[in-house]
């Protein structure tokens, strides 16, 4: 038996290995006359690449007509919500190593909003619901001259979670109620109403609670938690909706 000791080699840098994955992307071009269909692309990626990187590689090296929205590429602008393996996520926050790479990857547009082209949907109905909840501060008190309004740390913390929303629509377009009833305000609008309803500086909580007490308002929520699971900002959306429901029952914030 050899007594050779294997010398401990100094930590040699190991170059990360590229590998090939298949992305199945649901394509749609209204001008082509074709129905939406799945198209497979093989693409070389690294484990730490984002789905967005893979989409860019396809667009830049294989098919320039592949169409999707993106901007900041690190999860703060909300442009690239899409359905990845059946779950709503941001393409720029989904790393390949976190997916099951034994299976093909499926990428399609978010559901429930009109499909425009490939991974792009019409966001206007989504923003229309947002606008309807009066998502802006309505404070009737006059702030002290040239000073900020005072707000305690605890009052500020009350609505902290819902200020994180980036309006990406991952939540709303993951909601089965929204899929079947496009009139439903949807989680994102309720989140943005919550952000003002529970802001101690705001005086119009009642108006927003009335708006959301509509038949297309909070009562349509079936607490399936899809929205909370989909939120790339980790907002406890279902809990926020429940708080709005309770406030409606109470009749005030």
């Amino acid at each position: 038996m050899s007594n050779d000791v294997i010398e401990a080699t100094p930590e040699a840098p190991v170059a990360p290995q590229a590998f090939t994955v298949t992305l199945n992307i649901r394509r749609y071009d209204p001008d082509s006359g074709e129905e939406a269909h799945w198209q497979a692309f093989d693409v070389d990626v690294f484990p730490t690449d984002r789905i967005l990187d893979a989409l860019h590689k396809i667009k830049w090296e294989q098919d320039g007509s592949l169409t999707f929205r993106r901007s900041c590429a690190h999860g703060v602008c909300g442009s690239d919500a899409m359905r990845i393996n059946g779950r709503n996520r941001l393409a720029c926050k989904t790393l390949l190593k976190d997916l099951d790479l034994a299976q093909p990857i499926y990428v399609e547009a978010i559901k429930g909003l009109p499909l425009e082209k490939d991974l792009v949907v019409d966001m206007e109905p989504f923003f229309a619901s947002y606008r309807e909840v009066q998502p802006f501060l309505q404070a009737h008190s006059v702030p002290p001259k040239d000073k900020e309004r005072i707000q305690s740390v605890a009052d500020r913390a009350r609505f902290d979670d819902t200020t994180k929303c980036i309006l990406c629509a991952a939540c709303t377009s993951s909601c089965p109620v929204f899929w079947t009833d496009g009139q439903y305000f949807g989680p994102a609008a309720i989140v943005n109403a919550h952000r003002f309803i529970f802001d101690s500086r705001d005086d119009e909580a009642k108006v927003r609670l009335d708006i959301l007490n509509d038949k297309e308002g909070v009562w349509r929520c079936r607490t399936t938690f899809n929205c909370t699971e989909a939120c790339p900002r980790g907002i406890q959306i279902t809990a926020a909706i429940a708080e709005v429901k309770q406030a409606i029952i109470r009749g005030h914030r």
Binding site: D29, K59, S71, H74, C77
Partner: protein, 592 residues
């Protein structure tokens, strides 16, 4: 002409860009004048939303402070290339700007007394450099997000007319009484591929930066300098365009921003041996030295073999002593970025960081009223610029952290107010018969092109040569190389073709147009950088390592004078100078 549909609109004020500056302008202009905001994104996608750490204002909520100290820090931070009258306006109006935002609803973090809380930031000091001061008003590490959301919310309240996903491609200038004035904007509606002409009395550019001339950048994919490029092609000047800021703490290899607010809260930069190296370079304020200095020191550490990691090619941002609570409550987003993108938990492990291309100090020259200049002194009546695309100049050779969120609010507001005032008495300038012709022809030529080159390959080559040759350290040799490379890339660009020939959401076409702007801007950045044979702020020339006030205490003014495709930039770019406004702060050696 092709069969493209052309739609016509008329607004008193047209604002191009819906980030912080554009929406702050809209909030002033929309109630007073018929206003439209054109943006190639949705407003909430704008890159203001990626700003993290804070917005400077000497509120003195948590310790003694005043706007004069802020003015001085801004001037010294900008290595004395700041116009001192502008810096004074910035620092004075900062206080109202923050209060305005709070009153509009912005949820700032609060002190135990319920006032707006403030944190430390690089280069912001007590009493002219004695120690760091808490001047940055913040909302966790998503201050920019909160500003963008608050401004958007208030635009919704006011019913501002947004044209979302309309890509402005040309500025129409007309002659009125012998003077060139802006008359309209030609834009491509991305959803349909149709062309829109916006006839206007006043136009405000608020189009942001152009970080995508670099590979490693904190900037969004969409920051391609369109507004700056449009103005440049109209033969209006660009000021101090060679000054680009590299933010010290980008996630290594990715460039994703980690806020300076981390160091404001006490995080420390360390080299491979764990040394807090900033103590050697800036003994008074250490890790809170301005960004240009910290970025250079980091690169220096790596060059001298003290970098960390398997390739010794980065340094470490150590947040581990801050504790989980501070990270989770005051720096939650950057904590998550490190976890998501590098698989590193900042609570227990230092984070690999290196400088990342972040901010253009230079841009479209304006006076303190946000009016665009056509030379050192002459304004273009009715044309305004604000935010990163503009150069007032409040940032000089190096912007202080938190002064950009401030800039967009102060000068965005000024531009909106002044544009609304201007249109009260201005008439609509005449439009040419086919104002859309240039844009229609340009887009058609891209659609018809049958070349063999790809937009993505040319863009990648541009970004790589800019990273290699025009980053934190520059020499004449490296700049000459990138200049030569750009000329070659321009020739390749003439032989480009795109795949997508369709009309709807043609982002392939969009990227081709954007690349044209990137090439134009990179060329003038490099040409101006070669011409400035000194080191100042973000512009570090290793062949001229000292600041040279005798010869270069002046702004660069670059003009496009000929065919941009001629091989030698000297054939089509003219460089001139503009004096710096000095009002009492004489240039001193910059030590921290």
């Amino acid at each position: 002409m092709t069969e493209t549909n052309v739609h016509h609109h008329q607004f008193d004020v047209v604002i191009v860009g819906a980030g912080g500056a554009g929406m702050r302008a809209a909030i002033e202009a929309a109630p007073k004048a018929n206003t439209a905001v054109i943006t190639k994104l949705y407003p909430t996608r704008s890159h203001t939303g990626a700003a993290q750490g804070g917005m400077a204002a000497a509120l003195a909520n948590v310790e003694e402070d005043n706007w004069e100290w802020h003015t001085f820090d801004t001037i010294k931070g900008g290595d004395y290339l700041v116009d001192q009258d502008a810096a004074e306006i910035l620092a004075k109006e900062a206080i109202d700007a923050v209060i305005d935002l709070e009153n509009m609803g912005l949820p700032f973090n609060r002190t135990p007394e319920g006032k707006i809380d403030q944190r430390r930031f690089g280069g912001h000091t007590r009493d002219h450099g004695k120690a760091p001061v808490r001047r940055a008003c913040y909302a966790a590490d998503r201050t920019g997000h909160m500003i963008l959301q608050t401004l958007f919310q208030n635009c919704v309240r006011l019913g501002v007319n947004f044209f979302n996903e309309y890509y402005a491609l040309d500025l129409i200038m007309s002659e009125v009484d012998g003077t060139q004035v802006p008359a309209g904007i030609v834009a491509l509606e991305l959803a349909t591929g149709e062309i829109h002409v916006f006839h206007a009395k006043a136009i405000t550019f608020a189009t942001g930066g152009f970080g995508k001339i670099y590979k490693t950048t904190s900037n969004a994919h969409t920051l391609t300098g369109d507004g700056v490029g449009i103005v440049w092609r109209k033969k209006l000047p660009l000021e101090d365009i060679e000054f680009f800021q590299f933010h010290p703490t980008g996630l290594a290899g990715l460039g994703i921003l980690l806020t300076e607010g981390a160091r404001g809260e006490g995080a420390i930069l360390r080299n491979a041996s764990g040394e807090r190296f900033m103590e050697r370079y800036a003994p008074t304020i250490k890790d809170l030295a301005p960004r240009d200095i910290v970025a250079r020191c980091m690169v220096q550490e790596v060059r001298e073999g003290r970098g960390a990691g398997p390739y010794q090619d980065y340094v470490l941002l150590d947040c581990t002593h801050l504790g989980a609570e501070v990270l989770e409550t005051k720096l939650p987003d950057i904590t998550e970025f490190a976890r998501t993108y590098l698989g590193i938990d900042p609570v227990v492990e230092p984070v690999p960081v290196m400088p990342t291309a972040h901010y253009a100090m230079g841009g479209i020259p304006t006076n303190n009223n946000a009016e665009v200049l056509s030379d050192n002194d002459t304004i273009v009546p009715g044309l305004y610029a604000a935010g990163e695309c503009a150069c007032v100049s409040v940032h000089g050779a190096n912007r202080l952290g938190t002064n950009s969120l401030l800039d967009i609010n102060v000068f965005g507001k000024r531009s909106g107010n002044n544009a609304a005032e201007y249109v009260k008495t201005a008439e609509f300038p005449p439009l040419p018969e086919h104002p859309e012709k240039f844009v229609v022809d340009m887009l058609q030529s891209f659609r018809d092109a049958t070349g063999t080159e790809s937009v993505a390959a040319i863009r990648k080559a541009l970004q790589e040569t800019m990273d290699a040759n025009a980053q934190v350290f520059r020499t004449d040799e490296t700049l000459a190389q990138v200049s030569k490379d750009i000329h070659g890339l321009r020739q390749r660009f003439a032989n480009v073709s795109i795949h997508d020939k369709g009309k709807r959401f043609n982002t392939d076409l969009l990227e081709a147009v954007e690349l044209g702007f990137l090439l134009d801007i990179a060329e003038v950045v490099v040409y101006a950088a070669r011409n400035r044979k000194e080191s100042r702020g973000g512009h570090m020339r290793e062949d001229f390592p000292n600041r040279d006030d005798e010869n270069y205490l002046k702004h660069t003014m670059a003009y496009l004078t000929g065919d941009p495709h001629s091989p030698d930039p000297a054939d089509h770019i003219k460089l001139d100078w503009k004096p710096v406004v000095i009002q009492g702060y004489q240039p001193m050696e910059r030590k921290y």
